[in-house]
Point group: C2
Chain length 381, copies 2
């Protein structure tokens, strides 16, 4: 934790240790402009396709293409619509065919310039074209920088559920430019911040306390922002290195996500109503309150977690989602379809307090249902 006390302006590097699939995450300002040089130095001779969305393209694509060109990297851009709907079979096929049409080879790269949507789709494409090409991530949302840039999960959504189709495919390099986050809306920044808070709540109580002190500076930019991102990447990398394929400890990263995914599904992934990080924020608050109800966690810790999320402008209750209308049965279906279901019993991430989350493998669906009914009744009252 020493690093957290003395943030520096220098660029940080987090190494994700996965044997021959190990890679570096560079974190700091100016990395889009430096991308060409960094990529050319580490992956000499590659050609690339840059996949991005229309919003990010307007703001940052020109800078990236200039940087790649001046480093001598032959790259073709592909601009997709912004939004979760882009994680579809249709866009997958379109992007795959574009990469093949650009005659890229196995050693060439798909470069994702965008948030988690672009990262997940592009990583999947890189994982399946020619059974695996190189993948470079330039995450431009806070959420993508602290979450999807570590772990190698890629994929798309099915009409039947989120992230149900994909592969594990590790990037060769991640460039997290903290400066590009300045163009991100406050709402999207806060959504990403929910995942930062998550690492504190899982098993880093000191980090959580540091976040309580430095939240405003992180939102404003500056060295605390890079430090918060680096610590988040270290936190996730530590879990992933211990458990690359998500059978054991990695499940902890789902804190807030079982409830969160069910809420996202009930909103039909309508980002006007709820974005992923907001679902996670509500989900984490629910996980803490459910843990209190089960006698696992004391009430003060749950309140402390909620207060911090609220101070960051994040929702913590289902009734804060505009539009309403969440029948318990529908949420339970969402939870049942979640990847974490295993033969009838539910696996939930519960907690014994701030930084003391654990994997509960035998949660009674009836207890979850009763808890949700009370949460919704409280909202209606």
């Amino acid at each position: 934790m020493t690093a957290l006390l003395e943030p520096t302006t220098a660029r940080q590097t987090v190494r994700v240790d996965l044997g021959e699939r190990s890679y570096d995450i560079l974190i700091g300002p100016g990395l889009v402009a430096a991308a060409g040089a960094e990529i050319a130095r580490r992956l000499p001779g590659i050609r690339a396709m840059v996949v991005t969305d229309a919003t990010v393209a307007d703001l940052h694509l020109a800078a990236l293409m200039t940087s790649l060109a001046s480093a001598g990297i032959d790259a073709t851009p592909l601009v997709l619509p912004a939004g979760e709907k882009t994680k579809s079979f249709e866009r997958l096929e379109e992007t795959v065919e574009a990469v093949i049409a650009a005659r890229l080879e196995r050693g060439d790269a798909v470069i994702a310039l965008g948030g988690g949507v672009i990262g997940d789709l592009s990583g999947f494409v890189a994982g399946i074209v020619r059974r695996g090409m190189r993948f470079v991530q330039i995450p431009t949302s806070l959420l993508a920088q602290v979450d999807s840039s570590v772990g190698g999960k890629t994929g798309i959504n099915s009409p039947q559920g989120k992230n149900l189709v994909g592969v594990f495919h590790q990037p060769a390099l991640v460039l997290a430019d903290t400066g590009v986050l300045d163009t991100l809306s406050r709402r999207e920044f806060a959504a990403g911040y929910a995942e930062v808070v998550k690492y504190g709540l899982i098993d880093r109580p000191d980090f959580f306390a540091w976040l309580e002190r430095h939240r405003e500076a992180i939102f404003a930019g500056g060295p605390e922002r890079a430090e918060a991102i680096a610590e988040s990447c270290r936190a996730k990398a530590a879990v992933v290195a211990a458990d690359e394929r998500e059978d054991g400890a990695r499940a902890l990263l789902n804190l807030g996500h079982t409830f969160g995914h069910a809420l996202e599904a009930a909103c039909h992934y309508d980002s006007d109503r709820l974005v992923h990080g907001e679902g996670v924020a509500i989900g984490m608050a629910l996980a803490h309150r459910f843990s209190v109800r089960l006698g696992l966690c004391n009430g003060q810790d749950a309140v402390r977690a909620e207060r911090h999320l609220e101070a960051a402008g994040l929702p913590t209750r289902i009734d804060q989602i505009p539009g309403g209308g969440f029948p318990v049965a529908e949420l339970m279906r969402g939870i049942g379809q979640d990847k974490k279901v295993s033969r009838g019993r539910l696996t939930f991430i519960l907690t014994r307090g701030i930084g003391a989350a654990f994997v509960a493998r035998d949660v009674d669906p009836a207890a979850v249902e009763a808890f949700l009914a009370d949460e919704l009744a409280h909202a209606a009252a």
Copy 2:
């Protein structure tokens, strides 16, 4: 080679050694009827989706479903059209959604009952639903038994080229029922036999000589058939174990395939004109003649390879493909788009004689072009 001299009627097992991804291939008669028991014993408690094609469904699906049911395995069938066109994005999406709709979990299985088309598609589906489910192969064509059942390659075609999209996903178990091959057309049996011959031509001259003596018995059925399949699986497994991700020695398995794929593409994958194994047979003959022309291989060995393929009813020259019309430029484009291209130089599998194939990494495209022009001129003459 002792095993080859004394074939037995007993079921054979070939172990594919890939560390924690190791699996068994069982080879022998009656394995469709025994599938339920074998799967239930090795993968207790699983549920499954059986993916097959309409032709195979008519002949063998009922027997498999009965076997699964009597072993207590809850399985849903999905019947797709027969033929190479089924290896498409459209069928991929359809199958993925069907597997999700059946509410199968990660530990459950996709069972492929069919030839290489069904195996490749189903394996890809198993590799991407929930980022990887179990996969059981029940290959019903000779080609699928001796080739696609070993190695973990899965995938679909792009309109721009064959097998350009997919993943490596190893099966948990392969059941190669030698009896189901009795319903295969002689043409399809011969096409699969081309891959059997390939293992002899790559690096098993004794196996090639054994095939020369036992070809008729293999086509007729009986213990020599199971032995030829087992030896083919051992040959491929040895290469794959040494090189799971296909960068080095595994390239040898492409003997005949660079030419073969170009011919298949030029025929627009029209199986009335050319099936995969026929393309490979012509491709192997071309590889031998090209090697003779380059002064690498003596003419007798090339003739011996051709004679054996012809005796099996396989084509060895481009002009044997009905419909004709193979401009050299089109074949060269097919070769250039092949996965084995690497920055302008061509990689080909050439040979110094029967069982002495090697990877040539620096083949001059002009030499290939001149050779093909002569082959086609010879045909026209």
